[in-house]
């Protein structure tokens, strides 16, 4: 990464204008990912001073500033309290504490990384992304919709729901990217299921979710059917980490185990 200039922005407007002025100007989150890239940046825009590094936890929503680090996210009581702490379980399996003290929530969302564990776990919650200039978009629309917002992500608003979550990751070691990851959230009335590192970015398994909707207690046949629907409707492909067949096998086992776990078994 080569950087010519740094702008320490004092307002969102100033930061946004700088980003609009030239394609080679780039917003810095934690900058950890950007460092890996062989990119030439004219003006790097730093929004550290804009107070986007706090988490406001209310009864209805948890409002996470885009500049909150992954470490501050995982150690916040409201995040630990959501869905039995499955977000903590997910985040703690991303590299080291020292990396997570630098990498931000905003950069983790905007990157739309296929391997992302973070986006898979977030995808089973009700998440709204807030941009400057003002625009609100669900996480799912951001990841899979047509519209690609170019503004600055300022907040990630997570509905504070009652429920139980579970996160699964298949990787060689703590320092490897996932070959597959999966999350399940059981809420009143049903389940949300997402799969990531397919190798594409996290996607909800809508057919499996629809099938499980409203089922009080799950029989073995229900779980099997949800797993079958998962691999027939969510695209799982091959790359140098794993074949499509491998991913399908792992995804089905993980879904079955995760459904058992969120049902307390």
């Amino acid at each position: 990464m080569k950087i010519e200039r740094l702008l320490r922005a004092d307002t969102l407007e100033e930061a946004y204008e700088a980003l609009q002025a030239d394609k080679a100007n780039t917003l810095l989150g934690g900058g950890v990912w950007l460092k890996q890239l062989n990119r030439k940046i004219s003006t790097a825009v730093d929004i550290t001073r804009l107070g986007l590094d706090t988490i406001e936890a209310g009864e209805d929503v948890i409002d996470v500033g885009a500049m909150v680090t992954l470490r501050d996210f995982e150690t916040h009581p409201a995040i630990a309290g959501l869905g039995n702490g499955f977000l903590v379980d997910c985040t703690q399996r991303i590299m080291s504490v020292a990396l997570r003290n630098v990498a931000t929530v905003g950069g983790s969302v905007i990157g739309r990384f296929g391997f992302s564990d973070f986006l898979t776990a977030l995808s089973v919650l009700d998440v709204t992304l807030v941009f400057y200039p003002l625009k609100k978009l669900s996480l799912e629309a951001f990841l899979h919709g047509r519209e690609k917002p170019t503004g600055i992500l300022t907040n990630i608003v997570i509905r504070n729901e009652t429920g139980t979550g579970c996160f699964k990751k298949n990787a060689n070691t703590l320092l490897d990217f996932a070959r597959l990851n999966l999350a399940v959230f059981r809420h009143r009335g049903g389940y949300r299921i997402a799969v990531g590192a397919r190798p594409g970015v996290a996607k909800r398994a809508h057919e499996s979710m629809a099938y499980l909707q409203g089922r009080e207690s799950l029989e073995k046949e229900d779980v099997d059917e949800a797993a079958t629907r998962l691999v027939s409707h969510v695209k799982l492909g091959s790359n140098n980490r794993a074949s499509a067949d491998y991913r399908k096998t792992v995804a089905q086992s993980y879904l079955k185990r995760a459904l058992q776990e969120v049902n307390g078994r």
Binding site: R5, L28, G31, K35, S96, V97, A98, L99, L175
Partner: protein, 149 residues
């Protein structure tokens, strides 16, 4: 770009290129206890404390740290000497390249009150050591933190 940072309690004024990392700035100014390993955000030997939290100095731009506090191994002599004695007792010392960064995170663990083996293991996750096999280090760190279970 002129950037003022407090290093080990002392205010320092650096004139740095915009894309210089904290790791390079520190080493250039004689803080050579900070090591350069992978330089790709993975091995953790470049860890220092930023406002008391362990961070990868290879992944931070110096110009973004105006007014912040950085602590290197040179700034925590007591932790360093106590831990190195325990490393000696447990036979954890080999090439020593990762020792400064381990001392940095142990210092952070002590401050955060990490008090069980799981917490230590988790906190050390990602800190690569190419000689020790980690077991002797873990024993030494448990003694340092007074963890008996």
């Amino acid at each position: 770009m002129k950037t003022d940072i407090r290093i080990n309690g002392q205010l320092k004024s650096f004139n740095v290129k915009t894309d210089e990392t904290l790791l390079d700035t520190l080493r250039r100014h004689g803080y050579v206890g900070v090591k350069k390993g992978c330089d790709a955000s993975t091995c953790c030997v470049c860890a220092v404390l930023l406002d008391d939290k362990p961070v990868l100095s290879c992944s931070l731009l110096t110009v973004r740290l105006e007014g912040r506090h950085v602590t290197t191994i040179e700034g925590i002599p007591e932790t360093a000497s106590r831990l190195s004695a325990l490393f000696g007792d447990e036979g954890a010392d080999q090439c020593g390249f990762c020792n400064p960064s381990v001392a940095i995170v142990v210092h952070a663990m002590a401050r955060e009150g990490i008090d069980d083996e799981n917490g230590i293991r988790h906190y050390l996750g990602g800190h690569l050591c190419r000689c020790s096999g980690y077991q002797a280090q873990l024993l030494a760190i448990k003694k340092f933190l007074g963890v008996t279970s």
